[in-house]
Symmetry: C2
Subunit: 122 residues, 2 copies
C-alpha cells in the first residue's frame, strides 16, 4: 500500500472514509466519479458532511494506483457521446483486506467518541 497511512492517531481521515464507501458501491456495480459523488453527497447531507469532487477523485486515483480498482474510459452511448471513467474492482482480495483495515479504524474511532461522551457528559 505504498507506505501511506490512513490513520495518524486521532480520527480516521476523510480519504479513507470515502475509499470505503467507494469500494462498497463499486463492488455492487461499476460507477464513474461524479455519479458516486452525487450518491455520497445525498447520503451524508443529513449529517452535515458534503464531500467535494476532488477528494472523491483523489480517493479513486489512490485505489487505482494501489491496484484495488481498475479504470476504463467508456463512451456513453446515451443521449450524449461522452467519455466517462468507469471504475470496477481489480483485486477482490485487496479490496476486502482494505475494507477490513478501515473497519478496525472505524471501530476504534467510535470507541474514542463514546469515551469522550462518557468522560465529559455524565
Amino acid at each position: 500500500m505504498k507506505g501511506k497511512r490512513d490513520s495518524t492517531g486521532f480520527l480516521i481521515k476523510q480519504r479513507a472514509f470515502l475509499k470505503l464507501y467507494l469500494l462498497t458501491s463499486i463492488e455492487k456495480e461499476p460507477w464513474y466519479g461524479l455519479q458516486l459523488l452525487d450518491e455520497l453527497k445525498a447520503s451524508f447531507k443529513p449529517y452535515g458532511f458534503v464531500p467535494q469532487h476532488s477528494e472523491v477523485y483523489r480517493a479513486l486515483h489512490d485505489l487505482t494506483e494501489d491496484g484495488i480498482l481498475s479504470r476504463k474510459k467508456v463512451k456513453e452511448n446515451g443521449s450524449k457521446y461522452k467519455e466517462v471513467a468507469v471504475y470496477s474492482i481489480a483485486d477482490k482480495e485487496e479490496a476486502k483486506a482494505y475494507k477490513k483495515l478501515v473497519k478496525a479504524d472505524l471501530d476504534r474511532c467510535e470507541q474514542l467518541l463514546r469515551k469522550a461522551l462518557k468522560d465529559n457528559f455524565s
Copy 2:
C-alpha cells in the same frame, strides 16, 4: 468565539476534542499544561491516540483568548522553584455553552461512524 469553526463538515477536529477534555478537567480543579497532557496521553493510549504538547498548548491558548479560561503564572513552592501556567475557568457560562456545542458535534460524528459501519459492513 471569533468566528472560528471547530467543525468543517467531516469529523470533529482534534483541537475541539482536546478543548472539551481540558474544560472538563479544569472544571474540577485548576491544572497546568504538561500535567493535563500526561493525563490525556494516559487516557487515550489504549485507543492509539497520542496528543502532542503543542496541540494542548494551542487549545489552552485558544480557550484563554476566547475568555473561557484564565491563566495565572504560579511559582511552585515544592521541590523546585519554578513557574507554571495554571488555568482555571474564567466564564462558567461560556464553558458550558462551548461544551454543549462540542457535544452536538460528537453526537453527529458518532452517528456518521455508525452509519458507515452499517452501510459498509452488514
